[in-house]
Amino acid sequence: MSPDPASEFSPFEEWLSVEKTLDPYVFQLSFEEHHLGNPVIRSIHGGVVGALIEYVAKAGLNFRLQQMDRQADVDLTSTSLEYLRVTKDAPVYAKCEIIRVARRIGFVDVWCWQDSEELMVTRGVCTLRISDH
């Protein structure tokens, strides 16, 4: 698949089919057939949800740093994921909470749901390196 040079999204964002919502800390993954892990039971691949969590952690921390007027690069260094419920072939929502922004490291929690925020499907704890310009 060749990336569309006119697209405002990166190839990864297009593959993930992820979009912002009105809340800067909430994102929506629109289900695509290529997100399936097991095509027979039509559940989303755990790695896709993991990738969404890492994307949202980075995007959320970038937004917070912008608010703080910090010009910095952010790189994800570690992620711990817990898969709480089976997913289905439907949109996934992901919300992040910035736990702490330190001088060189940021800590972000992310949780995902489909039907209702009270029924989390996956949660993640992410650590990101912050490199000020």
Binding site: P3, N38, S43, A51, T77, E82, Y83
Partner: protein
């Protein structure tokens, strides 16, 4: 043929985007040679998102679990921890490996890693997988737990 080669056949959605060679995979040990797929490229066009390693290591580690099963059973990732040392560059060749360390009370414990051509560690992971989930195509997908 190792189960991961059957799972990751041309029919699997992922194979549209990632070409992987699983030669050398045996029982609870999987190996993969792949390149960092352009579909996962970041906006800079140079590197791929960490999600690529997360996605592929989850797949490779799940394959290691499939390799030790005596019969075909559904498995599900329960927990996954990944450290990313460096994001691969787009198109960079990667050597992946995973080992199922043991199964205790239906939970399989697995480790995995990605290395560059120069043997530099790119990512390391450990995970737990539930063997024999209740997931079926007719389940109540709202409340049912696969754990």
């Amino acid at each position: 043929m190792h189960p991961i080669e059957m799972f990751f056949s041309e029919h699997h959605p992922l194979s549209q985007f990632v070409k992987a060679d699983f030669s050398g995979s045996e029982a609870g040990h999987t190996k993969a040679f792949l390149v960092a797929a352009g579909a996962f490229a970041e906006a800079d066009g140079v590197t791929v998102h960490t999600g690529f390693s997360t996605y592929m290591l989850d797949t490779l580690m799940g394959g290691a679990v499939m390799g030790i099963l005596q019969k075909v059973q559904p498995i599900a990732t329960v927990g996954l921890a990944i450290s990313h040392m460096r994001r691969p560059n787009r198109g960079e060749p990667i050597h992946g490996s995973a080992s199922c360390k043991g199964v205790y009370k239906d939970l399989a414990y697995v480790t995995g890693e990605f290395r560059s051509e120069a043997d530099e560690i790119l990512a390391i992971a450990s995970g737990t997988f539930m063997i024999g989930t209740r997931a079926t195509s007719i389940r109540n997908k709202t409340e049912d737990s696969r754990i």
